[in-house]
């Protein structure tokens, strides 16, 4: 089935830092179950855009509208602070490149996952723990490590834990900033495979910022190519990568080393 209404609708979005433009004129719709990749070099405005979309940075101009479960379309930056926090804790997820930014390093792995559940009202210890175990399994972690501190985990395990923490509340939209960026190539491949499976099985919508075109090809249905703060090209992922139209997209695609 093809859905008739978008999940997220962005128009005229822009942000500047003290007059320096980070991104501008951003407009797109994200559809349920769709994975959108945002590609472009460092400094092209990708991360600012992701933050402005995900209520982590109030944009200078433009609107971000999101279709909530209860109230239909809402304007994200017209919600109260409390409503916005609730959205971020429940219906949205955010996966940071550095998992330490998305985890609480001082509490156990299980608590990291359970905490998000408690934030949405879960109180029964046994159920929370069972759910945490289930999610550690989903992200292919050794559940025997549930009571260990994340400080004892490798980078790949931390990233898995961060993903579990995000998905436990069954969000409908997940933002990801270079989710495989800091990892060894072998760990990256496994994580990509895991992410791809989870996104497909759960029917998640996602916006993934990456400078790695192979990651973009593997995970996303559609691409936005950013250059100097603007979207210069958008389209089906394989079309943009195999038949890029804009000079910058052509440069980006032709600069990749293929092993």
């Amino acid at each position: 089935m093809i859905e008739a209404a978008p999940l997220l609708s962005v128009s005229g979005l822009g942000h500047d830092y003290d007059g320096i433009i980070a991104c501008r004129h951003i407009a797109f719709d994200l559809w349920p179950g769709e994975v959108l990749g945002v590609v472009g070099e460092s400094g092209s405005g990708k991360t600012t855009l992701l933050n402005a979309l995900s209520a982590r940075l109030i944009p200078t101009t433009g609107t971000v509208r999101y279709r909530t479960r209860e109230q239909g379309m809402v304007e994200v930056y017209r919600l109260s602070e409390a409503e916005r926090r609730m959205l971020m804790r429940t219906d949205w997820g955010f996966v940071h490149q550095n998992p330490r930014e998305g985890l609480r390093m001082s509490v156990s792995a299980g608590a990291n996952v359970g905490e998000r559940l408690m934030a949405v009202g879960a109180r029964h210890y046994g159920e929370i723990r069972a759910e945490a175990v289930r999610w550690l399994e989903q992200v292919e972690m050794d559940t025997g490590r549930i009571d260990d501190s994340p400080r004892t985990f490798s980078g790949g395990m931390l990233q898995r834990l961060q993903i579990a923490r995000n998905l436990v509340t069954k969000p409908r939209l997940v933002f990801m900033d270079e989710p495989t960026g800091g990892l060894d190539v072998s760990v990256q491949a496994r994580l990509l495979d895991l992410l791809r499976g989870l996104v497909g099985d759960l029917g998640l919508s996602a916006i993934i910022v990456t400078h790695d075109l192979a990651v973009a090809r593997m995970l996303s249905h559609r691409l936005l190519v950013m250059w100097r703060g603007e979207v210069v090209e958008t389209g089906l992922t394989d079309q943009v990568l195999d038949d890029p139209q804009h000079p910058y997209s052509q440069l980006l695609v032709s600069s990749v080393l293929t092993p």
């Binding site: 791809r196 559609r222 195999d242 038949d243 804009h246 000079p247």
Partner: protein, 235 residues
């Protein structure tokens, strides 16, 4: 444009298709490849694209799949009774058409690392909501039919030989019975025995009514599969 219409005569209809590549990194050189291409493909037909190297056979195939963006013209086909123009459809519509109605066997297998061959083959069915068991059952039958040794099924195809990878690719392409198939040199890396198995598989699909467009350089393969040639000339 997408809309409900009466059944078109042909399964695939191409009208006035044009494609020019503009190479911005080479000073904006324009390479016109396709111009005014008209083509009709009926169910049960296998149309072989014919012409010298560089004439745009692969480009046409890729335009039909929505992989290359058409500059002008229409590529209409039916997806579950609804007519879709691949030249103008939105990405999510193109993906839905590819999932349900339009298959493509490329020359090379491109897959996620680490995924076992059997799941690579089963994946198109899983994407349609077929149960894991039923999808794997179909995958096993195809792998057997294409002579992939059973000991390889649980391994990721990255380390397989070229011929094995190509057969995995074909098995994946034919896992779901697409009404329309695009084939880009499906037998190029195969020995005679395996070539025969692949030809049988493709011919069966054609006889079941699949509409096909393909590139077959090997004259014997073309002879065995094509019901018609489509001659292409440089624009």
């Amino acid at each position: 444009m997408t809309g409900r219409q009466t059944m078109a005569e042909a399964t695939v209809t191409v009208r006035g298709l044009a494609k020019t590549f503009i190479l911005h990194l080479q000073g904006g050189i324009r390479l016109p490849v396709l111009q005014g291409v008209d083509l009709d493909v009926q169910a049960g037909e296998c149309v072989a694209l014919n012409g010298p190297s560089g004439v745009g056979k692969s480009t046409l195939l890729r335009c039909l799949y929505g992989n290359y963006r058409a500059d002008a013209g229409h590529i209409t086909l039916r997806d579950e009774g609804i007519v879709v123009d691949m030249a103008t459809a939105e990405p999510r519509h193109i993906l839905a058409v590819r999932r349900r109605s339009l298959g493509y066997v490329s020359q090379f297998l491109r897959v996620v690392p680490r995924v076992p061959a059997i799941d690579v083959v089963a994946e198109p069915l899983r994407a349609l909501g077929v149960s894991e068991e039923a999808a794997r059952e179909r995958a096993r039958a195809l792998l057997q039919r294409l002579h992939i040794p059973e000991r390889l099924w649980a391994l990721p195809p990255a380390t397989f030989s070229g011929g094995e990878q190509q057969r995995i690719n074909i098995a994946r392409g034919f896992a779901h019975s697409f009404p329309i198939m695009l084939l880009d040199e499906p037998t190029a890396a195969l020995d005679a025995d395996n070539q025969g198995a692949v030809i049988d598989l493709i011919r069966d699909a054609r006889e079941r009514g699949t509409a096909m467009v393909g590139i077959f350089h090997d004259p014997a393969v073309r002879q065995a599969l094509a019901t018609r040639l489509f001659d292409m000339k440089p624009p």
